[in-house]
Symmetry: D2
Subunit: 300 residues, 4 copies
């Protein structure tokens, strides 16, 4: 499975009572496969991974790999504050059949570049699997500069894929590619695809994000790769109102689940507390922007 | 002058050599007045106020008030880490003829709600001028909850206007209005107008932001107020691709200046170091999105 | 078991290979019981809880409760980013026989006071056990003001014990006691006991921290309670050089383990990566300050 | 004037009404000169520089240089969010007769290493004066790793003095010295001297901090340099209770001013709002620790 193109970050569906809802998870996966994505990413921030226990983490991954059934790639989030736990999660991902793992720097006071490199190296030495380096400073609490990302890519051959979520991402994409020189890296945009076009223009391979209409991402990336940049751009601009709305800080996860509920794949849009739920004005504003994008967004 | 509708946050134009460029500043003001805005805001974050010295601050305000010449409102940013300095800046603003001052909580380790309220109260007691309470946590380092904003509005009659820049802003707009109960407050959206429509739907009075095409903001707000919400929304969605592009973290100010340079009002798009300047891919991406918005954005 | 006096926060001992070292854990507990502490706290930040998996968490708590064997109190750290997981951890703690649970606000972007109160209330409704509210902003990412801590104490009768680690802690102790009015709360100092004397003077009940010589804390608190404040102060001041050394950001945990290794209870001083280990100058400086405190610290 | 040994960071004295109090400032300087310090640092964080306006900044520096009158060194804080303002402040410092300037990285969202280096280089090219690089992440919002500090020292010959305030400072001192290799740098400890002994053991040149009994710092550093390390350590440990008390987050400045008021040099201990003032328990705890240090601290 190639780590490129469009990877959809999976939500973790819950029942209204807060239990894992495997059937909804299977339906989301099928929706995303049908949308034409190159892979799915389980157990990311969007997957509310911080609110799952260890057995739920394993169960989610089992279901994902089983339901995907080799049709597309599977990236498993295995970020942990301890190197040892990160390795254990990553081993489980490999054994289960994941294509790659996605790992943020470990959250820790006084973290530094040397410790970050050591963390990724120890992981790479311990587990033979592709590593997606996630650069999302608000979550990890650590900003990785282009030179550090280039150092990781150079020193660790299995860690040459980056999920870039440190804005301005188009500029940082250019800087990382420059810093990497001859070392080939793949950069995925994230952040709800709100800058996907500009990231592609700067050299990104695609998007890895939880936008609930991945078929739109697939079309944008396909058009772009086919050299039909104006069409890609037009489609992108028409989808941006929804992308931006969905990717609101603090309630983005709840909006995505609501959209997937409306699309018929999630039985419940429930998130786990303390995550916020949606108020009425947000639901109404979502109605409005979804209708507009349906009417205007797919013209190309 | 009413504190409502659209207030455009002014950039501070510099020559290529880094000097204040008063002629460009006058042209920006005239562009904005012609666009139909209700007021301008000088010496905000977008105005690179942190990179001006005290005499430049005064000069900018003098030029702004003089050039506006009573045609629209003038809000002066007077945020300071010291209450005394904030008062001094605010007095100067009042004497110069500003309509209102805009004040963030003072940046300070271990700041707390009591100190914030005391800061605003001391200012209100010392200077008889309307106060716009700016809620922009990444700048002030302090998150004001709706209950605190409501307390300020209740206890300080001159501090009932809020510039809200703490996402998700539509949700927070609703919560603040709820928390304020019978105390009438006016909430301006900010953040590049990227959520203007949803803020208006939630009860905001308008936008106070530096978007370089304020005529679009004016039309959105006018349509909205006229009850023509669908048209307002359509216009907004078509402008969002540019709003979002302009409002990129770290380079937003440089992009706005570049747009105003292209619009013929700024002689130079220079920002003051250490502010970032624009790389070639960003300029090209800007070309593209500006053309698209010109072609598609004003259809309504 | 009373929640007052001195509670020692337990490290989680590891073998040189990184495995849980239960024998060392039992020896630490016996050392602390012999030192005369009122209780121990397992699975705190000092216990490297973020680097344990779920089964290790359970095992540590089993061993602690078993080894303590009713001789003193046992507080179990059950902080989690999800309310549901926090409840599950707390239920396990209660069933295992813990005296209380210790809970920080859940780490989450855009957390707010309402969500914090709801988190504690839901926990209190679900599990019938005393809750120690941990106020340690660098870990939780959220600063709880005295009014919020008072609100929690007032609304949730089982949440009237606070572990206060938001400096300046003596001042905040006074403010919280004021804010609580008639609602009786107990405040433990933390932060390595570096401000223990001043916290006691301000009204704290004692200390809950990982200082590796808890017998000193016990004597300070006993003298203080006996009204022998000058002697308590003298003893405290003579111990402060070591307390402050031990409580260094980023390496505090490693220093504590080194001290407990030197005291003969930990077989290995190993921490789990990415935690830092000690360099030679730090070890030598530790020698020096330990010798000084031995020679000067117990004169009273 | 040499940049080594003990530099005392000056408070900015205010009258009870909040005006600059030049007479008190002169008395503080004389106290510090008499204490035997190698220099003073004006306009630092402890000097409440963020609450001075531009003309007050100039006036403070004029008074300091005049009163010092060549007897010891004078470092002028010239940190600014803009490179241009930093240069202007530094030029003024040079013209006035300062020995060196002290500069933190400019506070800015999305700051990165390249911009930091450029900031210092531009300053060094523009003004011919020694630069003290201040590494105080909570103030600047940016953590400089040892490799970055070494790069600055290597590339900018006038920027080879570091005021290190990023704990654990003893460890970081070692790492910076290692990273600098053959490039000789001088590292001053800060942070209230709470780790001065360990910083000296790790290779620091001395202390640059606002501790209100600089004569103790002078003796510690002298004894240490004379090879009388045990005596230096003994003296240090006996002073630590006061150092730590004085250096409390949020109220440290107020405590220092109170001590200098008690020592008879400051007419008023007033700080400028929104800075916190001292409550009664803090004053009493200060009485206690001052008496203890007087009785026990100078025995050596």
């Amino acid at each position: 499975m190639q780590l490129e193109g469009v990877y959809s970050v999976l939500p973790t569906p819950f029942t209204a009572a807060g239990e894992l809802d495997e059937e909804s998870l299977r339906r989301v996966i099928d929706l995303f496969v049908t949308a034409g994505v190159d892979g799915v990413t389980a157990l990311g921030v969007t997957g509310e991974v911080a609110r799952l226990d260890d057995s739920e983490r394993r169960r989610v991954l089992d279901v994902v790999v089983q339901q995907v059934n080799g049709r597309i790639g599977v990236v498993a989030g295995t970020t942990s504050e301890g190197t040892r736990t990160c390795i254990a999660y990553s081993r489980y991902a490999r054994e289960t059949g994941a294509t790659a793992v996605m790992v943020s720097p470990p959250r820790m006071p006084k973290l530094n570049s040397e410790a970050v490199v050591r963390h990724y190296k120890t992981l790479a030495d311990a587990v033979d699997i592709e590593i997606v380096v996630q650069d999302y400073p608000p979550i990890s609490g650590f900003a990785m500069e282009p030179s550090l990302l280039a150092r990781i890519a150079t020193e660790i051959p299995t860690a040459r894929t980056i999920k870039l979520e440190d804005p301005p991402t188009p500029v940082k994409t250019s800087r990382i590619l420059e810093a990497c020189g001859d070392t080939e890296v793949r950069i995925f945009g994230g952040l709800g695809a709100v800058f996907l076009l500009e990231e592609l223009l700067a050299g990104a391979t695609g998007a890895m994000t939880g936008f609930a209409f991945p078929e739109i991402l697939v079309r944008i990336v396909s058009l772009f790769r086919a050299g039909r940049v104006d069409e890609a751009a037009d489609l992108f601009y028409r989808a941006v109102p929804l992308m931006r709305f969905e990717f609101q800080e603090g309630i983005g996860m709840a909006i995505r689940k609501e959209v997937l509920h409306r699309r018929g794949v999630l039985t419940s849009a429930a998130t786990r507390p303390p995550a916020a739920s949606l108020d009425v004005p947000t639901r109404e504003a979502l109605d409005r922007v979804m209708k507009w994008v349906e009417a205007n967004g797919s013209r190309t």
